[in-house]
Amino acid sequence: MIMAKPKPIEEIINEIKGFDKILVAGCNGCVAVCEAGGLKEVEILASALRMYFGNQHKNMQIDEVSLTRQCDKEYLAEIKDRIGSYDAVVSIACGAGVQFMTEMYNTKRIYPGVNTCFIGVTEEKGVWTERCQACGECILARTGGICPIARCSKRILNGPCGGSSNGKCEIDKDVPCGWQLIYERLKELGELKRFEEPVSPKDWATSRDGGPRKLVKEDSQI
């Protein structure tokens, strides 16, 4: 899922301090799982903002809403009758949610309340790590189910590099070397022969190098 972390509250305060009526909008999708933008986080952020502006003697209204998802129009439409009364919205959905809300309510100012980080997994409660960079052409079948694009700091396709030491990456002793993980996995699978065939350069056109991406599934279209 998509991971995010809350922006420093000072940054949010700075964006909205000139307004009188604010809606804090959460998303109960991915960002709720990583405890950055769900219902609970909406309550916490809105409460903290109300206390801050109360402390500043500013007469301000700060309301709360948490939508099922902010990346689907039908859920964004749930606030269409009331969004008009707000000066601005602080959306604590991922960047996609913030932008989709902006597109749908283009006369409103929509400010992001989180920093969207990566596509990842829950390692344990409160710990999330990156697993996918959405490169658009999955090579996991050739790398034992461990992604060199997401797990190798250099995204190299024929690793490991000289920066791998004792199974760790040179960027940080706590970061496992992605290629060491791939090596161990392929060894376990008895597929070390794969290392004898160099992997050809990747076509990055399916990744960000090809510009903003679009998916169309014709049989799903109405």
């Binding site: 409460s47 903290a48 109300r50 206390m51 109360g54 402390n55 007469n59 209204q61 309301d63 606030i79």
Partner: protein, 119 residues
């Protein structure tokens, strides 16, 4: 034991401090409490193993948040004591009340920031 502790203290009973969420502490302050303390069991003595340790982290988080919004972080505190320590509870209550008194009333109390249910 007929112990005395400050009359302004309102006790919210929970089965374990592990149930204390960040929003509970914030709501208490937002609704006008001058300070909030969480009275958990002694560390290592939690019936549910780590409830008091979780509460401790949440209290630390709220203190950090209060600092960010310009309020005294010490308005929120965590204490550990056993259920048999009535005199200690009274002592902590007096200590907390005295600390909060030095800060003055909660600056948010009675201020005009409003909230309406949006959806």
């Amino acid at each position: 034991m007929r112990l005395n502790y400050p009359v302004g203290i309102r006790i919210v009973k929970l089965p374990c401090t592990g149930r204390v969420a960040v929003i509970h502490l914030l709501k208490a302050l937002e609704k006008g409490a001058d300070g909030v303390f969480v009275a958990g069991c002694m560390e290592g003595d939690c019936r549910y193993q780590a409830g008091n340790l979780r509460a401790k982290k949440r209290v630390a988080y709220v203190r950090q948040l209060l600092q960010s919004i310009g309020m005294e972080p010490e308005r929120v505190a965590m204490y550990n004591l056993s259920s048999g320590e009535g005199p200690r509870f009274a002592e902590i209550s007096r200590e907390m009340a005295e600390k909060v008194r030095q800060f003055g009333p909660n600056p948010v109390k009675g201020k005009g920031v409003r909230k309406e249910k949006a959806a």
